[in-house]
């Protein structure tokens, strides 16, 4: 079974629009939205949710004021400044480490498991999909990402599908690390801007760190041909295949507004044709 994860470093380079288009071209894939923090793939694929499950994240400390003697031990020991002078825990600051719970001399601190999101198994017109929603301002996004990827793999096994297409989050931190570990390959979608190049280089080295093969697609390729050439040079030096050069094309925005993939909306547009070429290259890529 293969899993291709689409990442970018920089946000807004077109990951989700491409994943939606690939979903339509792939036919027999399971789709996985690992951008649990600000997921958007469902806005195009309009999933019909079959099963919704709570995601239990970490625990949070809760001080029972009737038992608290105000001794100050918890405040002294908390390294996250999560406990106020009036002995209330700020859930946004609480790391869920349990140190206060353990050391409270009168056992006045409860430590409940928090539900911090949901994950879903859905049906879409492009095939089955696993996606999730992390609660607003919640943590543990990495664990939720690992969970949706695991569920996508199981679903692929159950339904006899041998490919998973995963929409990844921006950045290089915890949710991205959780998105790419063990993947067959990543597609890095970049754009010919100084920020796009800078961020691509960081996420490429992250993929190298975890030994995941990398392909690169340049979106809005013709926005700055000089910068696009720089991306090509970097990829050549680093031995990375450039599998697509997608022109700047308003068809992506139009397709999104009509809740369609770019292939569905206008299959003959330059954006759709270039997207199809990227997909053909991905299909032929061996990877891990």
């Amino acid at each position: 079974m293969k899993e291709i994860v689409i990442i970018s470093g920089k946000g807004g380079t077109g990951k989700t629009s491409l994943v939606a288009a690939f979903a339509g071209l792939a036919k027999r894939a399971v789709l996985c939205d690992a951008d649990v923090d600000a997921s958007d793939l469902h806005l195009i694929l309009a999933p019909e949710i079959i099963r919704s499950t709570d995601f239990q994240g970490g625990r949070k400390a809760v001080i029972m004021n009737d038992l608290c003697t105000g001794c100050g031990t918890c405040r002294d020991m908390c390294r996250f400044s999560a406990i106020s002078e009036s002995y209330e825990v700020d859930p946004l600051q609480c790391e869920g480490c349990g140190v206060c719970v353990h050391f409270c001399p009168v056992k006045a601190i409860e430590f409940p498991i928090m539900t911090c999101g949901q994950w879903y198994e859905s049906r879409t017109r492009m095939g089955p999909m696993i996606h999730a929603r992390l609660g607003i301002a919640e943590e543990n996004s990495g664990r939720l990402v690992s969970l949706v990827r695991k569920e996508a793999k199981e679903l692929a096994g159950k339904t006899g599908r041998d490919l998973i297409i995963t929409d990844g989050p921006p950045g290089v931190g915890c949710p991205v690390i959780a998105s790419i570990g063990g993947a067959s390959a990543v597609l890095v979608v970049t754009e010919p801007t100084v920020a796009g190049i800078h961020d691509m280089q960081r996420v490429v080295s992250l993929a190298g760190h975890f030994r995941v093969p990398v392909m690169v697609a340049i979106n809005k390729h013709d926005l700055n041909l000089g910068q696009s050439a720089e991306i090509e040079d970097f990829c050549k030096e680093s031995g990375l295949p450039v599998v697509g050069r997608i022109p700047f094309d308003p068809v992506f925005t139009m397709a999104m507004i009509h809740e369609k993939t770019v292939i569905e909306y206008d299959p003959d547009s330059p954006g759709a044709l270039a997207t199809r070429e990227v997909w053909e290259a991905l299909e032929g890529f061996q990877g891990n």
């Binding site: 470093g9 920089k10 946000g11 807004g12 380079t13 989700t16 923090d37 600000a38 958007d40 806005l43 970490g58 625990r59 020991m77 390294r79 996250f80 946004l92 790391e95 869920g96 480490c97 349990g98 140190v99 353990h102 050391f103 992390l134 607003i136 301002a137 919640e138 943590e139 996004s141 990495g142 989050p169 921006p170 950045g171 290089v172 931190g173 915890c174 949710p175 991205v176 690390i177 754009e191 010919p192 801007t193 100084v194 920020a195 796009g196 800078h198 961020d199 960081r202 080295s205 992250l206 760190h209 975890f210 926005l223 700055n224 910068q227 308003p250 925005t253 999104m256 507004i257 809740e259």
Partner: protein
Amino acid sequence: MIISIASGKGGTGKTTVATNLALSIEGDVQLLDCDVEEPNAHLFIKPAFDEKITVYTPVPVVDETKCNRCGACAEICQFKAIVVIAETVLTFEQLCHSCGGCMAVCPEKAITETGRELGIIEKGSAYGIELVHGKLRIGEAMAPPLIRKVREYTKPSGVTIIDAPPGTSCPVVTSMKGADFVVLVTEPTPFGLHDLMLAVGAVRILGIPFGLVINRADMGNQAVTDYARREKIEVLMEIPFDRHIAEAYSRGDLLIHAMPQWKEAFRGLYERIKKLT
């Protein structure tokens, strides 16, 4: 005054707003780039960095000669960062949240702390403003502790602009908490609107006054504007789609330098923010 620039969706123009706003305000201005996973402000401000520090977070080291394998450390650790297997204690420092629980609970005082590198912080200045940014080490998962370190550079007076990371989870909350005002930058597309609604939820949890900047305002539909009207959220500024703006951005040129007429608009944005705080 601290103004945090956030967005929900990535690539909507946070850095454009943060950098151009910072350079359009008179007086003592500082820009903190808290998008430590992918900091970009320096690509536009181009400062000469004159200070660079490496930031560490404490992680445990076990002195096997003192350890009696009682397992108290593994029991208190919520993050599976320390486990006792047969006759040895293993630490997984990349999983450690630096709470210090294992060290505090160890009856044999066998645990001390060393540092795991989170990344670096660089400080420099250009165009009369100070820029401080964090750069998360490649392979490091936890951005919030580095963001907190960047925020320690906040000057007590003057204006501090924070360029926040995308999303709505802990790194974003860490970048917005304690700000006097949040500018949410969005684009008028379904993705822009969806992620904006999540970002609005996060700002409202924090109880910080906020307003919108709509970027590429003429390239999409009316849904963001309608939402803002319904929710009584003020649209502070609109930036149209303009190939010149996109090309200047692609080269790393500031909008107010490529098209100086924008300086007045960013000054106006600041004046509006002052009135709303």
